[in-house]
């Protein structure tokens, strides 16, 4: 029962956070609402006994992505959060289309695989996390590491390389105009 209550609370918070994130016109409020959503999500992960994923969720999404978003806002002129113009409503059709398309694409494989899924049912963790089997807990990190470093080692490395390239590219882009300015400009 306790986990049911917790589940409903967390889900409600997650939905609320997501709704606030898209509806708030103040950018900073939006980011904080999004972070609320992330936090609730990590709570849900804990309920699924995926405490490693939950920790990573907090570390990466709240600790890094959220901060990154705040950084981006700070780099704009709307640091103080006021004088934000209302967003245009012209692209509502495409927006709606996209909003429908993304979940559809995400759900599609699950629907298609329903038959095979029936054959091998997904084990949904049940019961109190605190009293759950210690062995399953201990193995999450190890198992994840094994899978990543053995089965998916090539995609992982490719992803890492891609991210590094993107990082270097971003640094290069950010540095380019300054070099020009320092080369040409003389004190006027």
């Amino acid at each position: 029962m306790i986990e049911q209550v917790a589940f409903y609370i967390l889900s409600a918070v997650a939905v609320l956070g997501a709704l606030l994130a898209v509806s708030r016109r103040n950018l900073v409020h939006g980011v904080f609402a999004l972070l609320l959503f992330f936090a609730a999500l990590s709570g849900l992960f804990v309920m699924l006994l995926a405490d490693y994923v939950a920790a990573v969720q907090v570390l990466v999404y709240i600790g890094a992505v959220g901060i990154l978003l705040l950084f981006t806002i700070m780099l704009t002129e709307h640091v103080t959060g006021d004088d934000l113009r209302r967003l245009g409503v012209r692209g509502w059709f495409w927006g709606l289309l996209l909003a429908v398309a993304v979940p559809a694409v995400l759900i599609l494989p699950a629907v298609l695989n329903e038959k095979s899924a029936k054959a091998a049912p997904i084990v949904v963790a049940q019961g109190n996390p605190a009293l759950a089997n210690n062995a399953t807990q201990a193995n999450t990190v190890k198992a994840l590491g094994k899978v990543l470093m053995e089965k998916y080692v090539v995609p992982l490395e490719v992803l890492a390389l891609l991210l590094t390239a993107a990082l270097i590219g971003a640094v290069a882009v950010a540095h380019a105009p300054e070099k020009d300015a320092s080369g040409k400009d003389t004190p006027a």
């Binding site: 907090v58 570390l59 600790g63 959220g66």
Partner: protein, 377 residues
């Protein structure tokens, strides 16, 4: 269900209470140590209310301060974001409280049925620790942003940049220990050090130094107290906080100092391990606290000695000194763990790390150094 709740409460509430009362003691300790460093006496008498008894060594000072904070007017600046302004101190306090429960702090009264476990013996404790402490950054930014004050905003921006940068060397230096133990569980890390603390290995020592410096930056302590640099931006992100909200920030800050030093003790100083612990298990908690206070003394001592860095120097120090050094340390540790020959690893590791640190400090100190002066007769 009730049993579970009682179990959780029995293990978390004492932790919260112990550290909250230690907070009061630590503020007194800090004032006293700083005063002695500066050739002052420090708080030395507070009247016990309704009596004429004055000689309390100032130990009642935190109580008086707390009372003052409680009765002070709570001011929210005009035009501030009232909700976030209220939420920020709470958000600063809650993660600090949460991570305290992750520490392998063995409660003395916990009986056999509880197996003397600490509050939240999670398997991913160290990882979760870093995750939850990163929320602190948000609280600081929230406070800076919601106050509608330019100094606060500057402080918030500084805090975000600084805490994000220093989290990397912090995690990397902790990763060395995690690598050595092969587990993220705080208990297992402590158990692995029952005979030999990691501080007594070359890579452990280097990792501790990096961890300690980065933890100073994470908790906004001198010389990395830029977000609250009072000589530059008044009080940084809590410029506009008064009364109890300020007290909450203060409490949150000290609790995170306890937490991060508790982690340092866990990772490098063998947690509650120490002499006579086998015979008297209750000593474990005493040892743990004693080690934390040892580190806190160093922090206060450092605060009494050094001035503050500048933002760009702070960043350069994190990215150009601590980061490369911690990555190198990771390699060094890997090699040392493989070799397992102390007579070989000690000099070798020390040499490599010292050379690297020397080279990097040369980079840091470009164009800077002591000078000699000329005189005119």
């Amino acid at each position: 269900m009730i049993d579970t709740l009682i179990h959780i409460l029995a293990l978390t509430a004492p932790v919260a209470m112990i550290f909250a009362s230690l907070f009061a003691f630590t503020t007194w300790l800090e004032r006293k140590i700083l005063a002695r460093i500066q050739n002052r006496i420090g708080p030395n008498y507070i009247n016990i209310p309704f009596t004429k008894f004055r000689k309390t060594f100032g130990l009642l000072q935190p109580a008086a301060d707390g009372f003052k904070m409680l009765v002070k007017e709570d001011i929210v600046p005009h035009g501030a974001d009232r909700f976030l302004h209220l939420l920020a101190p709470i958000l600063a306090l809650v993660p600090a409280m949460m991570v305290l429960c992750l520490l392998p702090f063995d409660l003395p009264f916990a009986n056999e049925s509880m197996k003397r476990i600490h509050a939240a013996a999670l398997d991913n404790a160290v990882l979760l620790f870093f995750g939850i402490t990163s929320i602190n950054t948000l609280a600081v930014f929230m406070a800076g942003w919601a106050s509608r004050n330019k100094y606060s905003l500057l402080g918030g921006m500084r805090a975000v940049a600084q805490m994000v940068s220093y989290e990397i060397p912090l995690v990397l230096s902790a990763a060395v220990v995690i690598m050595a133990v092969g587990s993220l569980s705080a208990q297992k890390i402590v158990a692995a050090q029952s005979t030999h603390w990691f501080i007594f290995t070359p890579w452990g020592l280097a990792a501790f130094f990096i961890f300690f410096i980065a933890s100073l930056a994470e908790t906004n302590r001198s010389p990395f107290d830029l977000p609250e640099a009072e000589s530059e931006i008044i009080a940084g992100y809590f410029t506009e906080y008064s009364g109890f909200k300020f007290a909450l920030f203060f409490l949150g800050e000290y609790l995170s100092i306890f937490a991060i030093n508790g982690l340092a003790v866990t990772l490098f100083f063998g947690g509650g391990n120490g002499p006579w612990v086998q015979a008297h298990p209750w000593l474990s908690c005493v040892w743990f606290l004693a080690k934390i206070f040892g580190l806190i003394f160093i922090i206060i001592w450092l605060r009494g000695t050094v001035p503050r860095l500048r933002v760009d120097q702070l960043m350069a120090f994190a990215w150009k000194f601590l980061m490369p050094l911690s990555i190198l340390n990771l390699f060094v540790a890997a090699v040392a763990l493989k070799v397992q020959q102390p007579w070989l690893t000690w000099p070798l590791c020390a040499l490599v790390l010292y050379a690297a640190a020397h080279g990097l400090s040369r980079l840091q100190q470009k164009n800077v150094g002591p000078r000699t002066y000329q005189y005119a007769e």
